[in-house]
């Protein structure tokens, strides 16, 4: 299916039961294969937006379709994976058995499961750690396992909720580079929530800037760098200027 848009949001609003308005008038369209980052201050509702797309909560108002279907239906029709801020691994399962969990729940046979999860762990650089339980892995390695688990079903849409937020800077950068490499390999559509503008600029093809609560899209910025990126990009003047421009959008918020 190669339609023009994969995700289409039209005047989305989200008000929680307590009366807290998290989102208002959110509209955007995302094409298949795009890597879109949602940046904004903490509590601006960007995580809520991700949960709406995942179909975990319904919007209070507005229309949201994924490949022409509701988020709930889309979850069954195409493969959607979610990466949380924490690795959220099962402590009693080895890295390999954690990665194979989505396949297990989908009823994939044991041998195929094993083969695909070991290959998936190899792709995130953890081929030698398949038998290790999460407690024997570092924070960065755990997040790699989490990433491998999200990708093992070969998703068409990957939703990432500040996945590297709890990691140190160096680990965060190296995971970002690996994520970009994986995306270049197989161009799934990505929706990446972060409050780190440099990270968003390095990873994405497009950035949606969200205002503070109630969140709404205040800027839709295409990222001017080619999709094949190297770590050196981070130290180029163009990159710094672009990050500055995006930050300006955030500062121009109504208070």
């Amino acid at each position: 299916m190669q339609s023009a848009t994969l995700i289409e949001a039209d005047s989305l609003a989200m008000t929680y039961a307590g009366g807290v308005q998290a989102l208002r008038g959110v509209s955007f369209a995302i094409k298949p294969g795009e890597f879109v980052s949602l940046v904004g201050p903490s509590g601006c509702g960007k995580s809520t937006l991700l949960r709406l797309v995942a179909g975990l909560v319904p919007p209070s108002a507005g229309r949201l379709t994924i490949a022409g279907k509701s988020p709930r239906q889309a979850r069954d029709a195409l493969r959607v994976s979610f990466v949380f801020q924490d690795a959220t691994l099962l402590p009693w399962r080895s890295a390999e058995r954690n990665v194979s969990l989505p396949l297990e729940l989908a009823g994939v046979g044991r041998d195929a499961r094993r083969q695909r999860s070991v290959a998936g762990l190899g792709r995130v650089g953890l081929g030698d750690f398949a038998g290790r339980p999460p407690r024997e892995l570092s924070g960065g390695m755990r997040m790699r396992v989490s990433l491998a688990r999200a990708l093992v079903t070969q998703p068409e849409l990957l939703l990432l909720d500040e996945p590297f937020g709890a990691l140190d800077d160096l680990t965060r950068q190296s995971l970002g580079e690996d994520l970009l490499g994986l995306w270049n390999e197989r161009q799934w559509t990505a929706l990446f929530v972060t409050h780190n503008i440099a990270e968003a600029a390095f990873l994405s093809t497009r950035i949606l800037v969200i205002s503070p609560r109630p969140g709404t899209v205040v800027a839709d910025v295409p990222v001017p760098f080619p999709p094949q990126r190297t770590p050196e990009l981070r130290s180029q003047p163009d990159f710094a200027r672009f990050v500055g421009d995006v930050s300006a959008h955030l500062r121009r918020r109504p208070l």
Binding site: A54, L56, R75, D76, V80, S81, F82, F84, D86, T88, L90, P91, W92, R93, S94, L101, P102, E104, L105, A106, R132, P133, P134, R135, E136, T153
Partner: protein, 264 residues
Amino acid sequence: MKDVVRWLVRFALPPLALLALVLAAWHLAVVLFGIKRYLVPLPTAVLWAGWEHRATLFSAATLTGEAALAGFICSLLAGFTVACVFAQSRIVERSIYPYAIFLQTVPIVAIAPLIVLWFGYGFRSVVVVALVISIFPIITNATAGLTAIDPNLLELFTLAGASRWQMLIKLRLPGSVPNLVTGARISAGLSVVGAIVGEMFAGSYQDENGLGYLIFQASGQLSADLLFAAIFTSALLGMIIFGAVSLVGGMANRWWRGERLWIG
């Protein structure tokens, strides 16, 4: 071998030294203050009574142990089933929970005669008393474990299209192991108390006496030395059951943390 010796010196020596001290103080107190022997027997007399009645004490402890273990296993199964129902439905939990507390607050000695009335004199009543007293910690701890699963993990399973059954078997059940172990350890100790209380009401059966009945009998006959021996045997039985459950529980916890089951 050297490690074993060091372990014994570090962990077995202090409590044994204290035991010797307490026994010596006990003996001295009885002799010095002239306490009547039918109220507090000498430690040596208790030891002698224990040796003399070793066959009776052993068969009593076996019988009580069987009842306690049966009650404990029943409360583990029944308690966990109740907890699963609680975890599936908040309304069911809210409606049953007050009665579970009621069951816990009524003194076991007050319900034991009723249980004997319903289930008759014998093993069955003893098991039921042990079950009633030991089920509550299982219900509360297992419910806590089943419901306190990381919400992100629940969402992960939901997004992967997991059924309720898969969520129970692959997430809630294994996830609640540490809580279940905590509940089981408390419950194991209580089941011995329940069995002994039960035996005091259910009496002797199958030509055999449990520890509870033995204690009842010994106090009736004013044989303090046998009474003391039976009390110590009860404590020993409780420790054995508690220790066994702790051992299995420790293994379950190591499994939960992704460690090897056996140290070494």
